[in-house]
């Protein structure tokens, strides 16, 4: 899918300062070696199965299916992983790789805090130092995850620049990596940034679609008709899509955070409102103004509040292999509440964007069709802010 320079069609590449070039070249060489190393893969499988709790369930949401009255709904339960989200898949892979490379310190950016918690967790497990960069705004709306990261032994650095959200945390983590490369691995949390990150993160997340395919075939003896996942940078989505890319009968649908709507400025829907650009190490689509200044995006979901999208998604969009649809805050909150009441599963507000779109399309599909929704994370972290959205003040 990628060529030698880490391109997905015209997207991707390595738009980073010279200071970082040898670090990404070294990372690529190490990854190319270890990805085919049986010992590495054995250790990673062991971590997946005996630490993270894989394989995650593919759950048939029968009540929801009956209620929507169309396609059968299946939930890929990444929320059941250790640390409560898909982020752990990538982090265990990268932390193991970093350890093999002799690194002793992990740095990471985080939006909702799930990637930060996962990185802090792996750092504790592997006895590595950990520093997590998090936007000031996100530190306020994700206090529980901030506490968890500290409990796990990580330093959490508040990023006050720009909009104080995920993009600023990424910028600050990149700056930190530029200043300290020898002992430090930048554990990037999504399928974005310079090559080889989009490929490495996708490969570690591809376990999601590998399992969906096996589990669904075992259950129904065929492929699902649609796979739906939320997209910020796009790691759980690419993980959910990857093993279906060459199965044209399977619709791949990424749900972007439309915030208050794609006709407003308060949105983070990159494919729907962005343009081609170069930022954070990659060529891809970005929300930006006409001068190329990166837009201060908005979503109720801290994890989707990012002005770009991974280069492989940009390419899947270009070749019309995947669809990228906008879902508003209000639709996501309704889906958050709906799944909680209908199936007794509280999804992350990020994942609720995918649930919301399934709720739109399932009734138009037939009973013998099947939709898989990836529930990328659990919703405990969101309860305070959703309560506030509904006008109720609660404290943890």
């Amino acid at each position: 899918m990628t060529n030698a320079n880490g391109r997905f069609g015209i997207h991707g590449g390595q738009y980073i300062p010279e200071t970082l070039m040898n670090a990404v070249i070294e990372l690529e060489a190490a990854y190319d070696h270890y990805k085919n190393d049986p010992q590495f893969n054995k250790e990673l499988s062991d971590l997946f199965n005996n630490y993270a709790g894989r394989p995650s369930l593919l759950y048939h949401a029968e009540r929801m299916s009956r209620d929507l009255g169309g396609a059968e709904i299946w939930l890929k339960r990444e929320d059941l992983n250790h640390t409560g989200a898909h982020k752990i898949n990538n982090v265990l892979g990268q932390a193991l790789l970093a350890k093999k490379m002799g690194k002793t310190r992990l740095i990471a950016e985080t939006g909702a805090g799930q990637h930060g918690v996962a990185t802090a967790t792996a750092a504790a497990l592997f006895d590595m130092e950990c520093v997590v960069f998090m936007g000031k705004e996100d530190i306020e709306r994700q206090a529980l995850n901030v506490y968890k990261m500290k409990l796990l032994g990580a330093d959490v650095v508040s990023v006050n620049t720009g909009t104080g959200t995920l993009k600023d945390a990424v910028s600050e983590a990149m700056r930190e990596w530029t200043s300290r490369i020898d002992d430090t691995h930048y554990c990037l949390g999504s399928v974005m940034g310079p090559h080889p990150f989009p490929t490495i993160v996708r490969d570690f997340q591809a376990v999601i679609s590998k399992e969906i395919k096996e589990q669904f075939l075992r259950e129904k003896g065929k492929l699902p008709d649609a796979v739906i996942a939320c997209v910020g940078g796009g790691s759980n989505a690419i993980g959910s899509f990857y093993h279906f890319i060459n199965d044209p009968s399977v619709r791949l649908i990424g749900c972007e955070a439309a915030g208050r709507g794609i006709d407003t400025f308060e949105t983070a829907a990159t494919i729907n409102t962005g343009r081609l650009g170069i930022f954070h190490g990659m060529k891809s689509y970005f929300c930006q103004d006409e001068s190329g200044q990166i837009a201060p995006v908005y979503s109720i979901s801290a994890g989707l509040d990012y002005p770009g999208i991974g280069p492989e998604h940009a390419w899947l969009h270009d070749i019309h292999r995947a669809e990228y649809v906008p879902v508003t805050d209000e639709e996501a909150v309704q889906a958050f509440e709906y799944l909680s009441r209908m199936e007794g599963i509280i999804p992350a507000i990020e994942s609720a964007h995918a649930v919301a779109h399934a709720m739109k399309i399932a009734p138009e599909m037939s009973r013998d069709q099947n939709i898989v929704i990836t529930i990328s994370g659990r919703g405990d972290k969101d309860c305070v802010s959703i309560a506030r959205y509904r006008g109720e003040e609660i404290s943890e």
Partner: protein, 258 residues
């Protein structure tokens, strides 16, 4: 051929940087003229970007001030053209890939050429990605400046061989900003460059005093100073022309006498 080589003829070059539009474009014009009159041999004009990932806090804040005050790429290009009616010193733009890409690289370079700019520095475009900009720079007779860093090692020769104008030697790890000391072995970086080309090398990142500037210029062909100047603009705003002029004078004297 650009005029960049003139900056290094028979002397060490002092190369100041400022962010255009901070605090406003009128002040930027006055600052550029003052810097040229006080010994600047080559001037880097920063076009502000919302998320400058290679910059430390001083230049990040300058970019924010400039954007808030309404600076745009088109206005900066127009300002550069006006400046050319007054000053002849070689000038290069320094900005981020997306600024040029969003404007349209060809349109940007043709207008930069019209303003008689001499080159372009894009810190987020390394050797591997330079072709899409380098070919257009060449077509418009502008130098796309290459950077080498303390981590470049075996990449130095490859970069140096294709370098145009001058080589920007990054003095230290990390982002731009004032540093108390520079510990990189600059001499051996330069020596590696010299093994393949005699293109001038100027050292930047972290230089804030005449002493360090002289020391770096002695080891190379020039010294680049950004944050230390921008910090004065942050402090004095529209009244920064005099303090910047005297600072540039002190720095350029130190470099020229090194």
């Amino acid at each position: 051929m650009s005029r960049i080589h003139e900056a290094f003829e028979n002397k060490k070059a002092f190369i100041p940087f400022i962010t255009c539009g901070d605090p406003d474009l009128e002040t930027t014009k006055k600052l550029v003229i003052a810097m040229a009159e006080n010994g600047a041999d080559l001037i880097e004009l920063g076009i502000p970007f919302s998320d400058p990932t290679a910059e430390g806090p001083v230049i990040q804040e300058a970019d924010n001030r400039a954007l808030s005050a309404g600076a745009t790429t088109a206005k900066v290009l127009a300002m550069a053209k006006e400046l050319r009616e007054t000053i002849k010193v070689p000038m290069v733009f320094m900005t981020y890939a997306n600024v040029v890409f969003a404007y349209g690289a060809e349109k940007f370079l043709s207008q930069a050429k019209e303003a008689q700019m001499d080159g372009l520095i894009l810190p987020d475009v390394p050797f591997e990605e330079k072709e899409e900009f380098a070919s257009l720079c060449q077509a418009y007779d502008m130098d796309l400046i290459s950077m080498i860093a303390p981590t470049s090692k075996q990449r130095i020769r490859m970069i140096a061989k294709e370098a145009k104008g001058f080589i920007y030697v990054v003095s230290s790890m990390g982002v731009t900003g004032v540093r108390s000391q520079i510990t990189t072995d600059i001499a051996s970086l330069i020596e590696e460059v010299r093994s393949v080309t005699d293109i001038p090398c100027a050292v930047g990142f972290g230089i804030s005093t005449p002493e360090t500037a002289a020391k770096m210029a002695k080891l190379s062909d020039g010294a680049i100073v950004g944050s230390a100047i921008v910090r004065q603009i942050a402090q004095y705003g529209k009244d920064s022309i005099e303090p910047v002029a005297s600072f540039v004078k002190a720095m350029s004297d130190a470099v020229h006498n090194s």
